[in-house]
């Protein structure tokens, strides 16, 4: 008993959490992959400053950012991706949402590379594509990686949203446990602790990674 709360229900319900956590991590994993591919590609193209394409990408980014993520999930689930299994509909909507933020980080990371690097590459006869591939992107990765990791943390927290389409991830699970045990708070506290442990661990890992990257400078 902590502060008058009773956690003995865990003896019987821990596997609810285990299953919920498993689904949450699967959602986060696939979303990370998909969102990174879409977001990085979008950001790289955006960084080239082609007028028309930039306009479209910026429009898309602003559009997605302007809509609450729960509304996005509903629209994808009931509309655009209604043919997809529930899990993949959730991954799709979470990916689109994250990808626009990743795109922004990528664009900023590419554009933060000194302009002289591109000019020097052009001057030895590289095409824009070659210059990006051999010179700009390797330097941009260093700029992008930390914010990409932070995006991953946000994304794990965002997965809780898809409980609204009855996907049995961690947040949905804790509600089931509440219903079964008639306990109001305790199941939520457990959920909160699990989320915190995951995100805090990743945050720490990111810190180590960043120090490694800067050790090279």
């Amino acid at each position: 008993m902590i502060l008058g709360m009773d956690f003995t229900f865990l003896n019987k319900y821990w596997f609810y959490y285990a299953n919920g956590l498993k689904l949450t991590l699967q959602l986060a994993f696939w979303t990370l992959i998909l969102a990174s591919i879409i977001g990085i590609a979008m950001g790289m193209v955006r960084a080239q400053n082609y007028k028309f394409i930039s306009l479209i990408i910026d429009g898309f980014i602003n559009f997605i950012r302007g809509i609450p993520i729960m509304v996005q999930v509903f629209i994808v689930y009931y509309g655009i991706a209604s043919q997809l299994p529930q899990f993949w509909a959730a991954v799709a909507s979470l990916s689109v949402n994250s990808s626009v933020y990743i795109a922004e980080h990528t664009r900023a990371g590419m554009q933060a590379v000194n302009k002289g690097q591109m000019e020097a590459a052009r001057c030895i006869g590289m095409s824009k594509l070659e210059a990006n591939w051999y010179i700009i992107i390797p330097q941009a990765i260093k700029n992008i990686l930390p914010s990409l990791c932070n995006e991953f943390i946000l994304l794990i927290k965002n997965t809780s949203i898809v409980s609204v389409i009855a996907l049995h991830e961690l947040t949905y699970t804790s509600n089931s446990v509440r219903a079964n045990t008639f306990l109001a708070y305790e199941p939520l506290i457990v959920t909160a602790v699990i989320y915190f442990v995951i995100t805090y661990t990743i945050k720490k890992l990111v810190g180590i990674l960043e120090r490694r990257l800067h050790a090279h400078d």
């Binding site: 000019e119 030895i124 390797p138």
Partner: protein, 247 residues
């Protein structure tokens, strides 16, 4: 008897505007093979823009540039192949920060000229030796002094075997004690017969190494001629004013 001239570059009525700002207002220049053309002029006179138009980092607004008698502004020209023929050495070096010194020098030959790695590295080591930095092959740019960076940048340029090298204030960002080592290499290149267009504030270099001096002001070529003559005996008031501040 005069040697027959071999004109590499002809610039005709070259103009360049950025928006409504006209920076180059009609330049006419011919550059011969093996010639060292030194360009001087006050800040903002368009020296860098002129160099950057030569290798098409900027596209001219009007006029024409002929390379071996052919316009480089027409359609159908492969820009990347053209740029390969022009080396450029920048004020701030612009070494590739993600690559070692050796890779900085080999990446052009390997990826652009498709020369095998081993051969490119052998050539690069030779060039690094020539600029006195073969012992730094594995270092990264961030570990080099300004003078060393610029020497690597010159080696990187030479690795592409360009026909012309453009120097845009290659020594302006260097500490005074490092200026000499870079000028020495440029002097050597000139003696070896490299065609060079050199924007500089180093009047000693201009006088001793330059075959021709161009004084630019306000987007025009105000005066040009033999460096020794122009420096000793400038014809235009603007040249006089500028030189009196330089010397």
């Amino acid at each position: 008897m005069t040697k027959e001239k071999d004109v590499i570059i002809q610039v005709k009525g070259l103009k360049k505007s950025f928006g409504s700002l006209e920076v180059l207002k009609g330049l006419d220049v011919e550059i011969d093979r093996g010639e060292v053309v030194v360009v001087i002029g006050p800040s903002g006179s368009g020296k860098s823009t002129f160099l950057r138009c030569l290798n098409l980092l900027e596209s001219p607004t009007a006029g024409d540039i002929l390379f071996h008698g052919k316009s480089i502004l027409g359609k159908g020209l492969n820009l990347d192949e053209y740029r390969e023929k022009f080396g450029m050495v920048f004020q701030l070096f612009n070494l590739f920060e993600n690559l070692s010194v050796l890779d900085n020098v080999t990446i052009g030959p390997r990826k652009v000229k498709k020369i095998p790695k081993e051969e490119a590295e052998k050539q690069a080591m030779g060039l690094l030796k020539r600029v006195g930095l073969d012992n730094k092959a594995d270092a990264y740019p961030s570990q080099l002094s300004g003078g060393q960076k610029q020497r690597v940048a010159i080696a990187r340029t030479l690795a592409m075997e360009p026909e012309v090298i453009l120097f845009d204030e290659a020594t302006s960002a260097l500490d005074p004690e490092m200026v000499g080592e870079v000028l020495q290499i440029m002097r050597q290149l000139a003696e070896d017969g490299m065609t060079m267009v050199v924007v500089t504030h180093e009047m000693g270099f201009a006088r001793e190494v330059g075959d021709r001096l161009i004084f630019m002001d306000g987007g025009y070529i105000v005066e040009e001629g033999d460096p020794k003559n122009v420096i000793a005996n400038p014809q235009h008031q603007r040249t006089k004013n500028f030189l009196s501040k330089m010397l």
